[in-house]
Amino acid sequence: MFELEVLHTQFGDKKRSYDTTTEKGRQSAALFINKLMKSGTAILLERGKKTYYVKGYDAEKDVLIVTVEKNGEAKQVKAKGKKSKAVAVPRVAGGR
């Protein structure tokens, strides 16, 4: 199961759940994640004490691709998509 909490201007947040055990669930999760990525949304995945930027979702392997900062360099590793909870934050405006 993959859960995504999308911050919403009217409802606080809207939860989207995808059953990644089925092909259909994985496909729709991949579709939605791709759409969010294209619109510049930051998907932030929390694992233990660390928070990662999600860079994509591999529907075939059911894994989330995240960026890890190591020695100042960013490299991509794969995190299991199952039982993952992530938050989608829309593009930000530096305010005043």
Partner: protein
């Protein structure tokens, strides 16, 4: 010679086209020139038509407006809804939200480094030569006048009060609800420690240390910019700056974002935890003396 962007209809050709075709041609060109997504443009058109219909009805409420914007958001698949202007607000300066580029219904977002006082004067058509914040709690702007350059100023205390009042008004006139804030608080509770949660509920703010730079603490405040304090060389702490960042957008000249305050805190917290460098880069950075720091 470069191809003309609009098909070259000549003479009576335009008269032969249906109104719909002409409208489509101009819509497409308008969207191309201003780099607007056609689907978003259609959404805004539909929303404006439906609001127009609502305006003609004798019974109408803000709930109806919220319902329409929610229906449009679902129809056009805008995952985080549509931010609306602070509707009952008469102050034209804070009516429209400033939205992040590329988000649904985004307005033009102009971020420059003049003082807030100069920004407000510029909106009124005053030509600004220079502007700065002065010690002694005031903002100074040098403006052009018929008698040459002239310095005018505004005291920060008055500005702070106005900002505070405008923020209250913007939130009250926006689509935010108590339920959305409660939902956001419940989500925040799952992301922070019990002690941080207690601090947030009692004080409206909580600290979190920087993973990247030891001795630096971020103070996340409800509905206000994040304060960054260094305890490295000064035992009592030294304010490095205040970081102002809003997911989706904010109401200009206020501290109110288009999302409920705790949703903004969640976004700020997670962005900071994921990548501090990026978090700073994306934020508006204000020094402690600037009224936009809200200290």
């Amino acid at each position: 010679m470069a191809a003309h962007p609009i098909p070259l209809y000549q003479g009576d050709d335009w008269d032969k086209l249906s109104d719909r075709t002409v409208e489509d041609i101009f819509t497409e060109e308008y969207c191309k020139i201003f780099k607007i997504d056609i689907e978003q443009f259609s959404a805004s058109q539909e929303m404006s038509e439906r609001f127009e219909g609502l305006a003609l009805r004798t019974v109408r409420s803000t709930d109806m407006i919220n319902e329409i914007s929610n229906e449009i958001a679902i129809k056009y698949d805008f995952p985080y809804g549509i931010a609306l202007p602070a509707i009952s607000n008469d102050n034209s300066e804070i009516t429209s939200p400033v939205l992040a580029r590329g988000t649904p219904m985004a307005h033009v977002n102009i971020v420059d480094r003049v003082t807030e006082y100069a920004q407000r004067l510029r909106v009124k058509g005053v030509q600004i030569r220079n502007s700065w914040e002065a010690l002694g709690d005031k903002s100074i702007s040098v403006v052009n006048s018929t008698d040459g350059p002239m310095a005018i100023w505004e005291y920060h205390a008055g500005n702070r009060v106005r900002k505070f009042m405008d923020s209250l008004q913007a939130r009250m006139d926006s689509t935010m609800s108590v339920e959305s804030e409660e939902k956001a608080i419940a989500l925040l509770k799952t992301k922070i420690s019990a002690s941080q949660y207690r601090c947030y509920m009692l004080n409206g703010a909580f600290p979190e240390s920087s993973k990247r730079s030891p001795g630096i603490f971020y103070f996340f405040r409800k509905g206000l910019p994040v304060v960054v304090i260094s305890f490295n060389k000064v035992q009592s702490g030294k304010i490095l700056c205040c970081l102002c960042i809003h997911p989706y957008g904010y109401y200009e000249y206020t501290t109110a974002g288009v999302m409920c305050p705790t949703d903004e805190v969640i976004a700020q917290l997670l962005l900071m935890r994921a990548n501090e460098h990026k978090f700073w880069a994306k934020s508006g950075q204000w020094q402690a003396s600037d009224p936009r720091a809200c200290l």
